[in-house]
Assembly symmetry: C2
Homo-oligomer: 349 residues x 2
């Protein structure tokens, strides 16, 4: 999606991935290699103007190695801050951004101490490489301790308080090379089984106060990290207040609605930012929704019969639980959007 | 632009062009060959689901040869009707669609007879292969006869009445494989030196009557040709009436505004049509404008500073008089659009 947004900006692309069948290879030259293959990385960087990434688990060492050769945006320190849940939450707290309570866990003793501090329910998570709900165990009471430890013990962990939030939101923010800032309206996200299923933008009932709060948090993160590009922060809303859950230093699934739902998509704005071009308007066009297509190929014709449904199929092999596309919807009013969303859900079901 | 719109619909592409540096080659496999190289065409068609084109001077023979192997949309008879100005105008008249007066010219005697019938001013044009004002000579009086004949004589020509039109418009229409129809609002086009410079959509002051008239003409053309895909008809408006000038059996420069200005772009709708998918909404989003970038590379940053300016750079080598990109603008009101257009024209100047 970044490349599709980048060709009209006059850009050419070269991709690096660890697997041969990466779909980006359909759009431009694909170099395949391991992230620790310095020779491959070095060849990859040759002749490039800059490097960006859309996967937050790119090893920091690889990003730093590339950054010695070409500009890398977002900067490697953003990857570093986002890859480890403990570092990330400590970073949020250092900026005065509320988070759920947390406790680092390396040993079984740490776990017991953490539970004592935080109380049940709580969630034990791996500090690194978790995504889409993987590497997490919910502890509702003492009976869950053993299962959680057996499942996750032996690696760096973090125990987090289980927040009784009202809803999950995310803020998509952009910072240009000159420091210019732009923010998309807060998005309401619906997960199931730890995977994002649906986003609504702007978040229903969004107040200017909540938006201002989110923008203030995002601004602090962007500026502290000297960030360039699109950043997503996932938030919990509870009693009208926001708490940061995690951040992703890249274009984000909860910003995919912007392809048709905003004046400038997150993909175009990410590229404008890293290229040092002026940022585009983040204004939402009425009301937008995004539905992920996960683990199956729907009937495209049935989807496109829904008014203002736009298909984004990724060209990936369909596998259970894999995000293989999404559908964006747009409408002038919430009522219209609701009706179209129901029609779309029927078409997909 | 068709390919960029097609990837999200799950499509893969193979291109055929007569030149090695065709920009489509940046996006997918490019086969290079002559249009009369049947072996090259035959290899090109192997394994394809269907063929479409975005150049109206593809030889009809090549399209027919391919159509024996795979479905070709728009159908070759549309190319045939559009490639020869005499056939085209006769076709319009056969459907009751008004055109400027015309007279076929093969000899000098025909030219004199034509001038007698039509009167001055008139325009002598080649019947085939004309585009962007090439292959045309305006005759304002008898003194121009010799120059025009020297310049164009010796090939099939057509003499046309020079219409004192108020403005040039175009209608973009789509017909799906099932016969489903959709129409974009009439566009007002501004040419200079025979080349399209600017389009405004919808055409300022557009009345429902004029739109209905244009749609009626387009519908007749689409249905008579059993057309599939996007078709553009260029029209003259004079005294509240429309006259057909020419048609293009393809996505059209005067429809480029639809990328950000319509709910569904002409490129996506062309693909939906040829793929047999439901057509998307052609509703315009407020007011849109398109400015062509011709023969020079502007400062991208200056363009993108203009609110809601979207750059579409084609990645072509810049040459004098060559269309190398365009900029789309959008606004909620005409006043806003006018202000942004002035800012954009300043940025480009």
């Amino acid at each position: 999606m970044l490349a599709l947004a980048g060709y009209p900006l006059g850009q050419r692309f070269r991709f690096f991935d660890t697997v041969e069948d990466a779909v980006a290879g359909q759009l431009a030259e694909l170099r395949v290699g391991a992230y620790d293959d310095l020779e491959a990385l070095s060849h990859f960087a040759e002749g490039l103007e800059l490097v960006t990434y859309e996967f937050e688990n790119v090893p920091v060492a690889a990003a730093r190695f590339l950054a010695e050769r070409v500009p890398v945006f977002p900067p490697p320190q953003a990857l570093e801050a986002a890859q480890d849940r403990l570092v990330e939450k400590t970073f949020f707290q250092g900026l005065g951004i509320p988070t759920p309570p947390f406790y680092p866990v390396s040993t079984r003793a740490d776990l017991l101490q953490g539970v004592e501090r935080i109380g049940f329910p709580c969630v034990l998570k791996t500090r690194t490489l978790g995504y889409d709900g993987k590497g997490q165990e919910v502890l509702r009471g003492p009976q869950d301790l053993e299962r959680a430890w057996t499942s996750l013990g032996g690696q760096p962990l973090i125990l987090e308080g289980f927040v009784e939030f009202e809803r999950e939101l995310s803020v998509l923010a952009v910072r240009g090379r000159s420091g210019e800032l732009a923010f998309y309206p807060l998005v309401e996200n619906h997960h199931h089984g730890g995977i994002l299923r649906k986003s609504l933008a702007p978040a229903p009932g969004l107040s200017p106060q909540l938006q201002a709060q989110a923008e203030d948090y995002a601004r602090q993160v962007l500026e502290r990290l000297e960030y360039v590009g699109v950043l997503a922060i996932e938030l919990f809303e509870a009693e009208g207040r926001l708490m940061a859950n995690e951040m992703a230093p890249r274009v984000h699934n909860s910003g995919h609605w912007s392809l048709e739902g905003a004046e400038t998509s997150q993909f175009e704005n990410h590229l404008r930012a890293v290229l040092g071009l002026p940022l585009g308007s983040t204004q939402v066009r009425g009301h937008a929704a995004m539905l992920n297509l996960i683990g199956f190929q729907p009937d495209f014709a049935r989807i496109l019969e829904v008014r203002e449904a736009h298909l984004h199929w990724y060209g990936k092999e369909v596998r259970p639980g894999r995000k293989v596309g999404h559908v964006n919807l747009r409408a002038d009013t919430w009522e219209e959007l609701g009706a179209r969303l129901r029609a779309l859900e029927d078409a997909i079901a």
